[in-house]
């Protein structure tokens, strides 16, 4: 678990004066989902719920999903931390809570500066040209207009959108899904962050773009204090991170050096998540239920 101060941890920064950048203190995140209560969908059931006001009213129609349970850890400056776990184990939720985008139910998360999630997808509009999306995405991330103007060409070049013609002046809806993903990553990666949170961004685009984005992540890491990386690709975790948090069903199962945690994790998942190659199909092994393999194909 969160061992601080722990000598066997990958020495953060200068070893001696480790500076914490993110402190999670017993964090719980709970999603509330409207309209999944028993009998929802039928109007009478909804009416029944409304009529039966009272203390039970809140719980009647609202189901809660406890996505992260009592997670505590300390991240230090200069660390790159991988988050692993099977699908639905709460990795992305934890990242969003660290970024302050999802309110925590219990506990607290302290951060140094403003952690940012790598990604601007939500701010971009498919009906606008690539150029205008570069501008809009930059502004959405909090860059100034001067910064965007200075970086504009760099972003376009990095995305490689214009390699096959003048696509940047076309609406984004005309892009192939790979092109759009590349532009999104390029915009998102244009800003330097104090604490950078990356959620499976390395998997976008073709092989050459993946290599470029991995290099860019490493570059961002140099500028950023701390990097968190969520990925189902254990190879990219090995390449980038020296420490790994393993979440399972919202609980922090393990926290330690990459090799130790990934060894345990791989034996837990049947070792199939190890390579960059997707598992061909569910191979029944003693530890894994049939069908498990499909859930962990690196996406």
């Amino acid at each position: 678990m969160a061992e601080h101060p722990n000598p066997q941890h990958p020495a953060p920064a200068s070893g001696g004066g480790a500076i914490p950048t993110v402190v999670a203190d017993g964090v719980d995140v709970v999603y509330r989902v409207n309209g999944t209560g028993a009998g929802r969908g039928s109007a009478t059931a909804a009416l029944h719920r409304i009529l039966r006001r009272g203390p039970a009213e809140r719980t009647a129609g609202v189901r809660t999903v406890h996505a992260v349970r009592d997670v505590s850890f300390v991240a230090y400056k200069g660390e790159a931390i991988g988050l692993v776990g099977t699908n639905g184990s709460g990795k992305s939720t934890l990242l969003k809570a660290v970024a302050g985008l999802l309110p925590v139910e219990r506990g607290r998360i302290f951060t140094d500066g403003q952690p940012s999630l790598l990604g601007v997808n939500a701010a971009l509009m498919n009906d606008l040209t690539g150029e205008r999306n570069v501008h809009l995405g930059g502004l959405a991330m909090g860059m100034s207009r001067e910064q965007i103007r200075a970086r504009h060409q760099e972003i376009v070049d990095f995305s490689g959108i214009n390699e096959k013609g003048d696509f940047i002046t076309l609406p984004m809806r005309t892009y192939s899904s790979g092109m759009a993903a590349r532009l999104r990553f390029s915009i998102a990666a244009a800003k330097d962050h104090d604490v950078l949170l990356v959620d499976e961004a390395l998997a976008t685009g073709d092989r050459s773009f993946q290599k470029r984005s991995e290099a860019r992540i490493r570059e961002l890491r140099k500028h950023a204090g701390t990097v968190f990386l969520v990925s189902h690709n254990n190879k990219s975790i090995r390449d980038t991170c020296e420490r790994v948090l393993w979440l399972e069903r919202g609980e922090l199962r393990m926290d330690g050096p990459t090799d130790d945690v990934l060894k345990e994790y791989e034996s837990f998942t049947g070792g199939k998540g190890a390579g960059p190659k997707p598992a061909a199909g569910p191979k029944p092994t003693p530890e894994v239920r049939p069908g498990e393999g499909a859930g962990r194909v690196p996406s």
């Binding site: 184990s89 985008l101 309110p103 998360i109 959405a140 199962r253």
Partner: protein, 307 residues
């Protein structure tokens, strides 16, 4: 969610107590992630994002008709068609135009000004609940969303105003210095709209059902605001009304902004048809809604985005 048949035993030492971690964070000057900034800091954050607010609203506006063959022509066509429908129903069929001089400019001004308030509030209601993806992915003061949607509607209104000027001239309304009064009236109305939008955005974020209810509320509001009929004309016809009805109808913020715009643009709509202290009323509503709505919205800043 995949099930773990044999959860491996937890490793490592026991987690440090909660007090230790909080103390560690305090020692290094870390701050709570996602906490609500104080009001003054919030205003500064919002100001720092002004370019984003402007770019987002323009982008929304442009994206709106980008698939249509006629493109941005619809920005002007839509309000004109709206006005034509109202003219057909209220002007011709129901005959509300009787006794109202310059009925077409009167009606079109009313429809455009009302549409501005109506669509701002509708957009505001969905500002948070309809943009959860954005709220959960990026950091910015959330008030940027409702304000940005109101700004989009303001831009839309400016397009409509261009059409309105053409209509005014076509119906022989002379150009006058009083047209300049449209600007302060619009500024006050925008502030009012933004304030109400922020109130609705907070309520809509907590209870999305409100978005289903708002069209009915807004339609009722429209019918009492004298959009397609003249409030003082009607009061003249119904002499049996209690004395408080007319002042209340005229003090209604939507009616105030509509009448101010008519007063500014249409020469036959004289000051005698405005309620007393109309500018004070307009400013008062703007201040009340703007400041109140902003503070009300800010009070729940950290809860936006909860699923």
């Amino acid at each position: 969610m995949t099930q773990a048949p044999h959860p491996p035993p937890p490793t490592g030492s026991a987690p440090p107590g909660h007090g230790d971690l909080a103390a560690l964070a305090a020692r290094h000057g870390l701050t709570v992630s996602g906490a609500r900034p104080p009001l003054a800091a919030y205003v500064r954050l919002l100001w720092a994002r002004r370019h984003f607010i402007a770019a987002f609203s323009t982008a929304k506006l442009t994206a709106q008709y980008s698939q249509a063959r006629l493109g941005q022509v619809w920005q002007v066509m839509t309000p004109l068609l709206n006005a034509a429908v109202y003219y057909l129903i209220f002007g011709v069929l129901l005959g509300t135009r009787r006794g109202v001089p310059d009925y077409v400019p009167f009606l079109v001004t009313g429809v455009f000004v009302w549409t501005f308030t109506q669509s701002s509030i509708l957009a505001g209601t969905r500002a948070i609940s309809g943009n959860l993806g954005l709220v959960r992915a990026l950091h910015f003061p959330r008030a940027a969303l409702p304000i940005s949607f109101c700004l989009q509607q303001l831009q839309q209104l400016l397009f409509s105003m261009c059409a309105l000027v053409v209509i005014l001239l076509a119906f022989g309304v002379p150009v006058a210095f009083s047209w300049a009064l449209a600007l302060p009236a619009l500024a006050l109305q925008f502030t009012f709209n933004a304030g109400v939008s922020m109130v609705m955005a907070r309520m809509g974020a907590r209870t999305p059902d409100i978005a289903q209810l708002m069209p009915f509320v807004l339609r009722t509001w429209m019918y009492v605001s004298g959009v397609m009929w003249s409030i003082d004309n009607l009061a003249g016809k119904h002499t049996g009304w209690p004395s408080w009805v007319l002042p209340v109808l005229q003090a209604n913020p939507a009616a105030v902004y509509i009448d101010l715009m008519r007063f500014a643009l249409i020469d036959s709509f004289g000051a005698d048809r405005l309620p007393q202290h109309v500018w004070a009323l307009a400013a008062g509503w703007a201040l009340l809604a703007g400041a109140g709505g902003f503070v009300y919205f800010w009070k729940a800043e950290e809860t936006y985005g909860r699923g």
